[in-house]
């Protein structure tokens, strides 16, 4: 099983962002790393300078580097950013909105988790169109993942395996709305919440996390107990989505389980320590409510 580190979804300080990737390059046992702004085009200018050195450091460390595109493209500048990324990048581009496919013109690329790949027909179509690797939507149950892996063994399938689950994207910025700012004058308040802004029910139950225009789960997805299941299905890679926790430690735990050096139960305990009490979920994979964590075998097709 390979490990892929997804793009940082939060508005981290540029220096912290760069240092995070440097440490990943030097210490994390991951095979591939996605770099790029997926959530908000307004944040992009902050990361443009450090991107080249981050890419070089990761590549020198032997990581495959992918450049991730924006998940929602509406404005003119977002179209231009997406077009230039798709047309000019030397590295494999991870397409997170259909917009990118228009510009790739059949050249090899990756499909990110924000593109709706729910069935064999769509996966096959995308593969014929040049998709080499596909990170499946986190909502998919095990039965769908299994069917998709069977139908396209040539496509490297990846499954969302760790980190808050991206649940929705909007034109409206909820961080700006909460702080009574307009989106155009948002003062980048999302930067105050490097792991997302916890959003609870009126009963104080942990529920969601707001990240600018994106809404994520309060739970961290965690498929550490299901790595063997994923491998059996033919899944090639587990996606680890960066949270404000020790991601090198997270990667090592996943690596050790995938290599059979650590049992799932010990690994679960180790992850609990690293994640400092954040609740885990695997409900989507189990065909249940996404927020749940279920042990045992996933539900059958249905």
């Amino acid at each position: 099983m390979k490990l892929t580190l997804g793009p940082v979804l939060y508005n981290w300080e540029p220096d912290a962002w760069r240092d995070f990737y440097f440490r990943i390059a030097d210490e994390a046992p991951v095979d591939a790393v996605c770099v790029g702004e997926v959530v908000c085009s307004k944040r992009l200018p902050f990361f443009q300078d450090p991107v080249p050195e981050v890419v070089e450091r990761l590549a020198s460390a032997g990581k495959e580097v992918l450049l991730s595109s924006l998940a929602l493209v509406t404005l003119g500048r977002e179209r231009k950013q997406t077009a230039s990324l798709a047309r000019e990048a030397d590295l494999l581009v991870e397409v997170n909105d259909i917009t990118g496919l228009t510009h790739l013109d059949g050249r090899p690329h990756a499909i990110g988790p924000y593109v709706n790949v729910y069935n064999e027909a769509t996966l096959s179509w995308l593969a014929r169109n040049g998709a080499r690797r596909v990170c499946l939507p986190p909502e998919l149950p095990a039965s769908s993942i299994e069917a998709l892996a069977k139908c396209c063994p040539d496509v490297e399938l990846e499954v969302w395996s760790f980190g808050r689950v991206p649940l929705a994207i909007s034109a409206r910025c909820y961080h700006a709305r909460l702080h009574k700012l307009t989106k155009d004058n948002c003062q980048f308040v999302c930067g105050k919440d490097p792991d997302g802004l916890p959003t609870d029910t009126l009963d104080g139950q942990s529920f969601l996390a707001v990240n600018g225009v994106q809404t994520l789960s309060a739970t961290y997805a965690n498929l550490i107990e299901n790595i063997a299941d994923l491998a059996d299905m033919g899944v090639v890679s587990c996606r680890l989505s960066p949270q404000a926790v020790d991601m090198v430690a997270v990667a090592r735990i996943f690596r050790d389980v995938a290599d059979g050096k650590l049992g799932p139960e010990e690994a679960q305990h180790a992850l609990e320590l690293v994640c400092d009490g954040t609740t885990f979920s695997n409900g989507f994979f189990k065909g249940a409510c996404g927020a749940e964590y279920r042990t045992g075998a996933p539900a059958g097709p249905g």
């Binding site: 917009t99 228009t102 709706n116 027909a121 769509t122 034109a171 909820y174 996404g290």
Partner: protein, 325 residues
Amino acid sequence: MELICPAGTPASLRTAVDAGADAIYCGFRNETNARNFPGLNFSPEELTEGVQYAHFRGAKVLVAINTFPRAGALELWHKAVDDAVAAGADALILCDIGLMAYAAEHYPGTRLHVSVQAAAANPDAICFYVERFNAKRVVLPRVLSIPEIAAITRASACEVEVFVFGGLCVMAEGRCSLSSYATGLSPNMNGVCSPASHVSYENAGGTVVSRLGDFTINKFGSGEPAAYPTLCKGRFQTEVSTGYIFEDPVSLDAATLLPGLRDAGVTALKIEGRQRSRAYIENVVRSFREALSAMEQGRAVPAGMLLAMSEGQSNTLGAYRKTWR
């Protein structure tokens, strides 16, 4: 501009046609459409009869097959496409790439409309569907302002349809798993959002608590009407503040924007609400038909004409007004 009206039942279809709809959209009675609610939708035979009723009166029927087919179960969605074409549908409203490929290959003569569930929000994404699948129309996601819509109609080689009334998704459509996170059932996979099967209300000392699955979505004091717990229109708390952090319980009413939408080059106006009653459909369709007539005759479109029909008795212009963001 064409007026595109919802029908959840054969009776609603006839009502909408009689009230002045240019086209009706509807779906089959299963998970192939995004309003997969108990007691709603059409059998293939009912659709055939509905198409005949509409065509006889000069109206069109558009069939929404706008969920994402489940892996291992493509036949159900293929059959929906086959049945819709056999019934004489004037267009298929699709969102899934694989299903569009199926329709374009097997029924190249049938018009393909890109569903709002595909969230094609710019000319490049629209161009993709036009070039690859010969799409004739795109239903725009509810994330765009009127100037942005105008830019899209100028740059796109297909017709543009926009929502003007009814329920309002605040998230980009077809890209939202909030409902399945709380209930296991989603618009994309099951054709339902915040499904009634997972809704409960509890009265605790004068406070009505509305819940979806295991999660409290809102609480209402005495005298406050208890709205349906649609997840993105609930009240939640953060360290910054507590309230309707995503959207207030409002619905869309863009009637006053009709001239702007016409000038933006919009081809068709869509009314949401296949789950609504015949009385609702009749009232909304007639009102919009009147508003369109008023506009064509150079009269002002009356504001708030449909206020009483809206969820929570208040409405919004949504993303059409840029400050909504």
